[in-house]
């Protein structure tokens, strides 16, 4: 099973997003130990963007299936078998996001600013990935990215 460069890049960004979210949540807990709602808010923000990512990915996979033989195609046969579910996830993601954000913010009283910080995690991860690509290009070897 081989993964395309695009899939490998997405995997790295997913991993970096989780790391950035974890670091932000741990920092919030360390700086404000008496206010766990802030750390929970960061985790909630990461959860929101993860929900959005899953919805978008399911929709894209339903239209363009992952390349045959790739890690994704092997690990998610459901995406091939049930493209309708992918479309449902894609088109209902905004409603799911709105309800989730409302529950987190108004019911669980997560810190809203911390949630904004959590949503920033994939942008930070994408920046890290672009720096990684630029460094690999400047050093002239692409093998580090594989």
């Amino acid at each position: 099973m081989t993964a395309s460069p695009g899939d490998r890049q997405l995997r790295r960004i997913e991993r970096d997003t989780l790391i950035v979210g974890g670091v932000l949540a741990a920092s919030a807990l360390a700086v404000w130990p008496s206010q766990p709602g802030r750390a929970a808010g960061v985790a909630g923000g990461v959860l929101l963007i993860a929900l959005s990512y899953q919805g978008i990915r399911a929709g894209v996979d339903a239209v363009w299936a992952p390349p045959a033989g790739s890690v994704d195609s092997a690990s998610s046969p459901a995406a091939h078998a049930r493209p309708r579910l992918g479309f449902v996830k894609f088109f209902t993601r905004h409603a799911i996001l709105a309800v989730s954000a409302y529950v987190m913010m108004a019911r669980f009283e997560f810190d809203p600013m911390a949630m904004l910080a959590g949503v920033t995690a994939p942008a930070v991860a994408a920046s890290i990935e672009s720096v990684r690509i630029m460094r690999a290009r400047s050093s002239g070897s692409h093998s580090r990215l594989s």
Binding site: P5, I49, R57, P112, V119
Partner: protein, 112 residues
């Protein structure tokens, strides 16, 4: 219908929507209540504008990706990855505005 008439109709609708809450206020002019009303109106418009911008951006991204895959099917894997990343980054901007609008709707930082 020309673009100018559509724009005029939109502007008239906008003005009508903005003016009616102003007339609905008390004569005493409760500043706090007005601020809350305006913050909710602002949140609604911000969400609408963010949805519009996000939809336009995502539409362009999907159109470009479709065209690129049609031209070069061999690069579908890489294009798909870049498309998903681009869509998520566009979506994150919309989620920012969604969160800020929810703050204004439900947490009411300006009182009320």
């Amino acid at each position: 219908m020309s673009t100018r008439s559509i724009l005029s109709a939109f502007l008239m609708l906008l003005v009508a929507g903005l003016v009616s809450p102003v007339y609905a206020q008390d004569a005493a002019g409760a500043t706090g209540t007005a601020l809350v009303q305006w913050s909710i109106i602002t949140a609604g418009f911000a969400l609408a504008i963010a949805a519009l911008g996000g939809a336009l951006g995502q539409g362009r991204a999907v159109a470009s990706a479709t065209e690129a895959i049609a031209r070069n099917p061999g690069a579908a894997g890489e294009i798909r990855g870049a498309l998903i990343l681009g869509l998520v980054l566009i979506e994150s901007l919309v989620i920012y505005v969604l969160l800020i609008s929810l703050i204004l709707f439900f947490l009411k930082p300006f009182g009320g």
